[in-house]
């Protein structure tokens, strides 16, 4: 077990030295632009450290499905498309993208991009990377295959710097998919290495180059001076992990790290009150909801389900339980997503209406039990307790909470058999593609992976949407969202916020897609 001798210098010593350099440099830099890409002389030393809950599970960008791994990957590997901080699709390694015909899209690949080993990026590399994900015989069974749903293959266009990607069917979300997934790797580099080596080394086109990877402990990267855009302002980037939220917050307050993920609401004040750090929050792509099985009493009654929505004071849950770090929802599609219906409001708090609807449904006196995971989502148990508490206050329904192990609960949700699921449960779903259609298909259509709901009309409309062009599809999904509000298959809860702690020495803002992009970090 060899370890880099650099690590023998105490991190604090290093930070002190770096802080000194940073202070000098920032005087020169503060008149420039605020995006750190003005092409000015970059300060030599600006080290940034990011602490997540988990370490990456490996460094193969196509062999994982977790956000913490993704956050590390995006600094070394890039895709053809990407998203800006607002979630809009932008070009990355592609200079142009267009739909050639139904089921066929074309990316023009940027010139003058080099991999970290110095070789030029070619369209063949891009095509290979896509095929490595979607075709098993090219690489392996990539867990990302479903993230490029519908894509069947890619090939470099003859004699041009372009790649043609084929899908089965129209695939209306293909650009959204490529904006979120499919990091580009170099074909020859991958083919020369064993699976194990690919998991421990990196060779992308991104703004940071891998220096040192200690499995389970840290990933150290340094600025790619030959990056195709301006080099990053951050000179060295370190990723570490701490499972315990309080450990992360203490590291931040003690200036041992610069960004920590998932600051729990009870720790927010401690961060806000400190001179060293602040809170940075952003609405995430995750929606938290209470599903109700449409096939069992009392939830089979639409009135009863609506009553449950009227029964809870969602506004109070968001402000009191979540400390304001959340947004109320009234439909399965979040604001900013494709298909969000702006005319749909959250259900108001109206316990009398709730009691009336319960009477009308014929299920007065019902006793119901909410299954909830603990510690998986921001304040999940507390939200569940509040929901059950409000419902229990109704004169004609009694409700309780059943705390469940997340793994066991998910097992029940995933059997594909609705009868295995609890009648009423809390769960969250994050959709990094910003596409409401994918959310509804997975969670609210009869054959959806995680669905407890079935409605012929919804199924039909979603199937239609699958073969509609963008604008028409958007309208259909909006309409479906309106219907789903009315039919209330869920108790609509909150949009989860990603709550970060950030050191005062850096200038950085949180993004909706949970990506922490060190390229956008500059000195305060």
């Amino acid at each position: 077990m060899s370890r880099d001798t650099r690590s023998s210098v105490g991190r604090r010593d290093f930070l002190k030295a770096a802080g000194g350099a940073a202070a000098t440099a920032s005087v020169a830099g503060c008149l420039g632009g605020d995006d750190g890409s003005e092409g000015e002389e970059q300060p030599d030393e600006f080290e940034v450290s990011i602490t997540q809950g988990q370490m990456p599970s490996g460094l193969d960008p196509h062999d994982h499905r977790e956000t913490p791994t993704d956050v590390v990957m995006l600094h070394a590997y890039e895709g053809v498309l990407s998203r800006n901080a607002d979630g809009q699709v932008i070009e990355k390694l592609a200079t142009e993208y267009e739909r050639v015909e139904d089921g066929q899209v074309r990316f023009s690949i940027r010139e003058d991009v080099q991999f970290h080993n110095g070789d030029d990026l070619t369209p063949e590399d891009v095509a290979y990377s896509i095929n490595r994900i979607v075709q098993e015989d090219v690489g392996f069974a990539s867990p990302q295959r479903d993230q490029l749903a519908g894509v069947t293959g890619a090939e470099a266009a003859d004699g041009e710097r372009a790649v043609v990607v084929t899908s089965d069917g129209l695939n209306p979300v293909v650009f959204q998919e490529f904006a979120t997934y499919c990091d580009v790797m170099q074909q020859s580099w991958v083919e020369d290495r064993s699976k194990d080596e690919i998991g421990k080394q990196m060779n992308g086109t991104g703004p940071f180059v891998l220096d040192d990877y200690t499995e389970d402990e840290e990933v150290v990267m340094s600025r790619n001076e030959d990056y195709w855009r301006d080099p990053a302002e951050v000179s060295q980037l370190t990723f570490t992990a701490a499972e315990e939220a309080s450990t992360r917050v203490n590291q931040l307050l003690n200036e041992e790290t610069d960004i920590v993920v998932n600051v729990p609401p009870q720790e927010v004040n401690r961060v806000e009150d400190s001179d060293a750090a602040r809170i940075a929050a952003a609405p995430s792509t995750r929606i938290i909801y209470n599903a109700m099985r449409y096939d069992v009493e009392p939830f089979s009654s639409q009135q009863f389900r609506q009553a449950m929505n009227y029964a809870i004071d969602l506004e109070s849950i968001v402000s009191n339980v979540l400390g304001g770090f959340g947004e109320q929802t009234g439909q399965p599609t979040l604001e900013g997503f494709v298909g969000h219906n702006p005319d749909v409001e959250p259900y108001p708090y109206d316990p009398e209406e709730a009691e009336r609807l319960v009477e009308e449904s014929g299920h007065a006196g019902a006793e119901i039990e909410l299954h909830t995971p603990v510690g998986r989502y921001l304040k999940d148990l507390e939200i569940a307790q509040a929901v059950a508490g409000y419902i229990d206050e109704l004169s004609n329904v009694s409700a309780s909470v059943n705390q469940r192990d997340f793994g066991a609960l998910v097992d029940e949700l995933l059997t594909g058999n609705i009868e295995d699921k609890p009648p009423w449960y809390l769960i969250g779903w994050g959709e990094a593609t910003f596409d409401g259609g994918l959310v509804i298909t997975a969670l609210l259509t009869t054959d959806g992976a995680l669905s407890s709901y079935s409605d012929e009309e919804i199924d039909e409309m979603m199937e239609q949407a699958g073969s509609q062009a963008a604008e028409e599809r958007e309208q259909t999904i909006q309409e479906v969202n309106g219907m789903l509000h009315e039919r209330a298959p869920w108790i609509y809860l909150n949009r989860q916020y990603s709550v970060y702690g950030a050191s005062e020495r850096i200038d950085w803002s949180a993004r909706s897609d949970e990506r922490i992009d060190a390229y956008a970090i500059s000195q305060q």
Partner: protein
């Protein structure tokens, strides 16, 4: 019975115990909730991908085949493949051992250094304020939960007073020793001081319960020895009181303490889990917690087996040492 025969006998017994541990650990996986494939894969993967992953992990085999495969693997040091990193589980586990051992030994040193003088003081000043102080201290030590103490120490000594780091372990003691051996004294000093600086708070946290335990043990042991005939005889002969207390009484008190220290070292290795999590110490404990959360069964199982083996080995060593220190005890 000779020492070697004794060791052989205990080793054979130990093997049975380890086999039991392996079997229980293997069985645990099947009564625990959470299918590893479901935690490993996102909810929306296709059934074919799911089945493929299950087959790759060997989870579709009959139970006895999986069990025999597992034992056969263990015999050659193969604990399976980590579901999360897809690397050898044994490599991940062995890599974490030094950090945990360092922490356990440091905690033991903290405990012994504080506890034995405190226990002696408490016994020789019986019913005086010092004795009451030591008793209150050990009571508090035994009843303070580790995680709470750890968090308090971090908040006071790391965050408020800024004297220690909050967590992590950038260098191991092995680096320091390696540099020392290579006559790179500057680097060695750097490493060792960084290590000490990082290990202090976790060692105190982990050692506190243990300190309290040994203090009480020393106190009662000393009181008992001081009442013995040989002590009275030594005093009657006119030996200085310090010699009576430390050379004679303490020495005999230490015999049971050695046993407890040895056995507790095993407990510390296993019990470091919470302390390691609080201090983000990159040892077996942190690995176990992360792996449980990720349902990374091969790593969880392997770690528990390593801890089990550690216990068995320590037990044997303690027994042997016990008999060595106390000639009245025979190997049987």
């Amino acid at each position: 019975m000779s020492l070697s025969r004794f060791l052989l006998k205990r080793a054979l017994q130990g093997l049975f115990v380890i086999w039991g541990v392996v079997t229980v650990v293997f069985g645990l996986r099947f009564i625990s909730p959470g299918d590893p494939a479901n935690v490993l894969l996102p909810p929306d993967v296709s059934e074919s991908t799911r089945q493929q992953v299950v087959a790759e992990l060997g989870l579709d085999q009959p139970l006895y085949v999986q069990y025999l495969d597992y034992i056969a693997g263990l015999l050659v040091g193969d604990m399976g493949t980590s579901l999360v990193t897809k690397t050898e589980a044994s490599g991940r586990i062995i890599g974490k051992l030094p950090a945990t051992l360092e922490l356990a030994v440091a905690a033991t040193i903290v405990a012994v250094v504080i506890a034995i003088p405190l226990g002696v003081l408490s016994a020789t000043r019986r019913h005086e304020p010092a004795d009451y102080g030591a008793t209150v201290f050990s009571l508090a030590g035994i009843s303070t939960p580790n995680f709470w103490l750890g968090i308090m120490l971090i908040i006071v000594f790391a965050v408020q007073l800024n004297l220690f780091p909050t967590s992590r372990r950038p260098v191991g003691i092995d680096d320091g020793v390696a540099h020392l051996v290579a006559f790179q004294f500057g680097l060695a000093w750097n490493d060792l001081s960084t290590w000490l600086w990082h290990v202090t708070l976790p060692a105190i946290t982990l050692g506190t319960y243990f300190t309290a335990l040994i203090t009480r043990l020393t106190r009662s042991g000393m009181l008992e020895e001081l009442g013995q005939g040989y002590v009275r005889a030594a005093r009657a002969k006119g030996l200085p009181e310090t010699l009576v207390r430390y050379k004679h009484a303490l020495r005999n008190t230490l015999i049971p303490i050695i046993t407890v220290v040895g056995l507790q070292l095993g407990t510390l290795i296993g019990g470091a889990v919470i302390t390691e999590a609080v201090f983000n110490w990159p040892g077996l404990g942190t690995l176990i917690i992360n792996s449980i959360q990720a349902r990374d069964w091969p790593v969880v199982q392997g770690s528990i087996i390593v801890i089990g083996v550690g216990f068995v080995v320590l037990n044997i060593l303690v027994d042997a040492l016990y008999a060595y220190v106390n000639p009245q005890v025979t190997y049987d």
